[in-house]
Symmetry: C2
Subunit: 297 residues, 2 copies
C-alpha cells in the first residue's frame, strides 16, 4: 500500500466534470493523489469553465487525448453516456490502465464498458455515495466524499492490485470503501436511493400541477415535510433519467412492493382502520433507531 | 396589543403534555406569557414526569380541575382525543374563556369541540407547524416554535379579541401567524405534510419487510436518500394515525393524484421513455427554487 505522501497515479483522466468529476479533481489535488489531472468534457463552455476554475492540469475536448498516458481513467458522465465514450477511447487504452466510474447503477457499467476494453485493462467500477442538489463544475468541493461510503463492484476476475489501488484512492479522499457484487449493489441502491428519488420527484411534481395560489401556499408551508422532498427532487435530471433507464428491473421490483404497501395504507385510511395505521407507523420507528445506531443519521 | 413584559393570560391550562404541550410550557415560562401554567394529562406516569421536569405550576389528573379559572385552555392531545376531553370539561368552562389546540387537522377540531362549548367561550384553533421526531414531555423545548408558522383557523363569527390574543401568544413564542379557513388549511397541509408523512411511513415499511441482511444494508447505505424518510417516519404513531383518520378526504384526494403521477413515471421506466422522465425531473427543480426563495429551505 502506498504511503500518504506519494501520488497513487501518474495521470488521472476525468471524463466529465460535473459535481462528482469536479469534486474528484479538488480531492485529487488536495490529497496529492496524482502527478497530473487531465480533464475531458464534451461541451466547450463546460471545459472552459473547468479551465477557468483551474480544476485540472490539462484540458481536452478529445477524450482520446485525455486518456493518453493515463494510468487511471474515471468516467464521470451520466451512466447512459458511458458506452459511447468507451467506444471512442477503447482503442487508445494501453495494458495496465485502470478504468473506473462514479455511476449510481453498476451492472450496466460492466455490461457497457467491459466488452470494449483491450486485454490487460482493468475495470473497477465505483459508486461514491455522495452528492448535493447542485450540478456542474462549479458545484464540486474536495470534502464531498469525506465520511461517505464508496462501493466498488469489480468482477471476481479483475486484477487485485488494481482494485486495491482504486480502494486506496477512495480511502485517501476520506471515504469508507465497501466491495460488493454489481447486481447486489443495484438492488440495495434501488431501495436506499433510486426509489426515494422517484417518490420525491413524483410528490413535487404532483404539487406543481396544483397551480397558482395553492402551489404558493405549498411552498410557504413546506417546512412541514414537503421541503425535504424538494431537496431530493432538485438533483440532476439527466443523471437520474439514466439511473431509472439503467436499473429498471430492481427499481420496478421495489416500486411494486412500495405501491402494494401504499395501497394497503390508502385502504386503511378510506375504511378508517386506525389499528393498521398505528401498527405500521409504530413499526417504522425501529428503522430510524437502526439508522441512528449505524451513525448514518 | 399587550406589551412584551405583561402576561397575556392569567392561567393557561395545557391538556396533554407531549412534545408540543411541553414545548408550549417551556415557551410560556421563558416569555412570561401567563401567571400560571396548569398541566393535565391522563396517564399518571406522564403527569409525574411533567412535575419532575417542573414544566408547570400546578398538575391535575382531572381535566376539569385543570381548566378551572383558566382564561386559555390549549388541547395538546392527538386530534382523535379532543372530543372526549371537550365533553368532560365543557360544563366547567366559564364565559370569556378561550379554547385553542395544536392539531394538524382543523375542520375536525371545530366539528368536535365547537358544539360542546357554552355560550361566550371562544374557539380559536391553532396549528403550530413545528415538530421533531421525538415525543413525550422530555422532548419539549422553548425554541421549537421560533421562526415557524402557526396557522389559526377561527370561524368568521369568533370574537376578534380572542383571535388576536391567541395570535399574539404565538407571535411572542417566535412564530409567524397566518389566519385561514379550516378546510383550506386541511387541503394545504394534506399536500405539504400529511402526504409526505404517509409516503415516508410507506417506504420505510417497505424496507422493513425486506428482512435480514438486506435490511441491514439499507440502513448502512441510507445516506443516499432513504435516511431523510426514516426521520419523517419516526414521528409519533398515535398523532399520525389521528391525522389520517381525521383529514381523510383531503389526503385521499392528493394521494389519488400522487398515485396517478407515480403510475405515469412507472410506465415511463418500464417503456424506457427517457424524455418523459427527464422532463418531469427538470420541472421539479423550479419548485426547489421557490422553496429557497421563500426562505423555507
Amino acid at each position: 500500500m502506498a504511503t500518504e505522501s506519494k501520488p497513487l497515479f501518474k495521470r488521472v483522466a476525468l471524463l466529465g466534470i460535473g459535481l462528482i468529476g469536479s469534486s474528484i479533481a479538488h480531492a485529487v489535488r488536495r490529497h496529492g493523489l496524482a502527478d497530473e489531472i487531465a480533464i475531458h468534457t464534451r461541451r466547450t463552455e463546460t471545459l472552459d469553465k473547468a479551465r477557468e476554475l483551474g480544476l485540472g492540469d490539462t484540458y481536452f475536448s478529445d477524450p482520446v487525448a485525455a486518456v493518453d498516458g493515463a494510468d487511471l481513467v474515471i468516467f464521470c458522465v451520466p451512466v447512459g453516456a458511458n458506452k459511447a465514450v468507451a467506444e471512442t477511447i477503447a482503442p487508445a487504452l494501453r495494458p495496465g490502465t485502470t478504468i473506473s466510474d462514479v455511476g449510481s447503477c453498476k451492472r450496466v457499467v460492466i455490461n457497457d464498458i467491459k466488452p470494449l476494453l483491450p486485454d490487460g485493462v482493468h475495470l473497477v467500477p465505483a459508486h461514491p455515495i455522495a452528492g448535493t442538489e447542485h450540478s456542474g463544475p462549479e458545484a464540486g468541493f474536495a470534502e464531498l466524499f469525506k465520511g461517505r461510503w464508496c462501493i466498488l463492484t469489480p468482477e471476481p476476475d479483475v486484477d487485485a492490485d488494481a482494485v486495491e489501488r482504486v480502494a486506496e484512492f477512495w480511502r485517501r479522499v476520506g471515504s469508507d470503501v465497501e466491495i460488493m457484487d454489481a447486481d447486489h449493489h443495484d438492488q440495495v441502491l434501488a431501495i436506499t436511493s433510486h426509489l426515494p428519488h422517484l417518490i420525491a420527484y413524483t410528490i413535487v411534481d404532483t404539487a406543481t400541477e396544483l397551480g397558482g395560489d395553492l402551489q404558493k401556499e405549498v411552498i410557504k408551508f413546506s417546512a412541514s415535510g414537503f421541503r425535504d422532498f424538494t431537496r431530493i427532487a432538485a438533483s440532476d435530471p439527466v443523471m437520474w433519467r439514466d439511473v431509472f433507464l439503467n436499473n429498471r428491473e430492481a427499481v420496478l421490483d421495489i416500486l411494486g412492493r412500495f405501491t402494494e404497501d401504499l395501497t394497503a395504507l390508502r385502504r386503511a385510511i378510506r375504511r378508517g382502520d386506525g389499528e393498521l395505521l398505528h401498527d405500521t407507523f409504530a413499526r417504522t420507528r425501529d428503522v430510524r433507531r437502526g439508522v441512528i445506531d449505524a451513525k448514518q443519521a
